[in-house]
Symmetry: C2
Subunit: 318 residues, 2 copies
């Protein structure tokens, strides 16, 4: 089978079809989304390259083609990306996405979805309702990550919330927050992406300086940049909550004193609940179609990666 | 009256007795505690020196000597240090310690308690029950700061909590946490301070490396140093809470990625509830006497400041 292998550079190669452990399923992807994390992994984040070669891809919708539990075969699925041991203390308290023994699809010690086949534990799979097209289902993973925010903290309908960043994740986070009834404001740099926001009555601005400083109950940094964190920090009120929705690589000089004096809560936020994401997609409560910039066949996956900078979601068809 | 004035250096000077606004009280301190924050202020934190001269001292127990509301006169009191406007949106939602118009006793635009008299709003005063001696009452402010942690976050009796730092605040925080029933561990550098902990059955170690990493539900940094933050970060579990109980001056290079990947909540924590602190003191639930290293008269206040490094609480008798 063909796979897009990263070994310092991306290359389409013929590889062996993976062996399928008894508790896993072999999946042929239908669509794979390229994530900002993939680009960061290429540039050294999380030591991906130090571990030699690998296959990216952790956002997918696919079809199960082999599985010991035959009821899954032929099923259209999405899948949680962290493969946990399910028996350690972390797993047993319900924190399996944080299992210290986990592998992570396309990120850490588990080949990703940018291939004609890959495996994932059955426990990670979620059947996709027929009413959700592939082009929406492929957003389940990032939408779940957006939902993680409201799974971690209580966002009240009376809260004032500002989202910094109008990338893919920022636009999903804003759409999720909109559903809480909160006062909502987005700060971004790409007005061409805002018709989606206008339809959903979410105000957006390029000028954070026009917004009231130290006045927002919750500020969410979806930029993945130190500048975005600084903007969010300037906007959040004393005793407010500052959510970090994206990772960035490297050290940032931080002045801790204002966090203590203003009693800010900084909340790291990562992967989230797939079932709830599928429910939002099924109910049509979130728009994903405007988030797609382009799609490429797997044979043109290098071109797909080249198209990522400045784009919204780039999809790969397998 | 005499006051210890800081103007680049400390000097005992004769100054005018302050005018007493209608909603304030003139207080003659009985005992004043020197706080680590005072030392940081001397070295530039919060721009204290840029605002020219000033009088330190925000931990005190004193006697009201003048007040428009005569029932306060002669009353022994402690006082909250933030003088808020009590009418802005921040104050009206109950966050008056964060009032943007606030002055702060001995810290920001309000002369402190290291003088024979100073004023504070009546709304900030708390009468001290007769059963609490001055030497305990003077700890109301730092004990309230320790209690702020359990006012901000829910510490469960089933939580595993580690306190990093065995300074004054660390020893108060540990004593407060002990009352929750949680599993508790202190990491410190001063075994000579630990008889207090041994009496209270709080285990302590100098070797953070002996403790399980990534295993503590809550880690509290009371060191006021970047190294202490790093220790706390290494000990807290994924999805755990990391509380910053002390400020330090300057920028610290921070890698944000682990905070996001491990979904850590970083919680800044500052001033706390005085009433609850007085209740703990009245009930004898917290030991303060072992925290006193020495006391000096106001006329020897410079010597008192010189005694601070390496000591626990240094008190000034006025």
């Amino acid at each position: 089978m063909q796979a897009l292998v990263f070994d310092g550079a991306l290359e389409l190669r013929e590889i062996e079809s993976p062996a399928v452990p008894a508790d896993e399923a072999l999946i042929r992807p239908r669509l794979v989304g390229i994530c900002g994390t993939d680009i960061q992994l290429m540039h050294g984040y999380s030591g991906f390259t130090q571990r030699g070669q690998g296959i990216f891809g952790h956002e997918f919708v696919g079809t199960v083609v082999a599985c010991a539990d035959e009821q899954w075969i032929g099923q259209r699925v999405v899948g949680e990306i962290n493969a946990a041991c399910r028996c350690c203390p972390t797993c047993l308290r319900g924190d399996h996405p944080h299992c210290p023994h986990r592998t992570t699809l396309g990120i850490n010690q588990r080949p990703g979805a940018l291939a004609e086949g890959f495996t994932l534990p059955i426990a990670n799979l979620h059947a996709v309702p027929d009413t959700i097209p592939d082009e929406a289902a492929v957003f389940t993973e990032p939408l779940a990550a957006a939902l993680e925010l409201v799974d971690q903290i209580h966002v009240r309908p009376t809260d004032r919330v500002v989202v910094v960043g109008d990338g893919k994740l920022g636009l999903l986070v804003a759409q999720v927050l909109r559903l809480t009834g909160c006062t909502l404001q987005l700060v971004g740099r790409h007005p061409e992406r805002w018709p989606l926001l206008a339809r959903q009555r979410i105000p957006a601005t390029t000028q954070a300086s026009d917004l009231a400083e130290r006045a927002w109950d919750i500020a969410v940094d979806c930029t993945g940049s130190p500048a975005g964190f600084a903007t969010a920090q300037a906007l959040v009120r004393p005793r407010g909550r500052l959510v970090l929705k994206s990772t960035f690589h490297g050290l940032v000089p931080l002045d801790f004193a204002p966090l203590v004096v203003d009693e800010i809560q900084v909340i790291g936020s990562r992967c989230g609940p797939f079932d709830a994401a599928l429910r939002l997609l099924e109910r049509g409560l979130v728009e994903t179609e405007p988030l797609i910039s382009a799609s490429f066949p797997l044979t043109e996956a290098e071109a797909a990666f080249a198209a990522v900078p400045g784009a919204l979601k780039i999809l790969v068809r397998v």
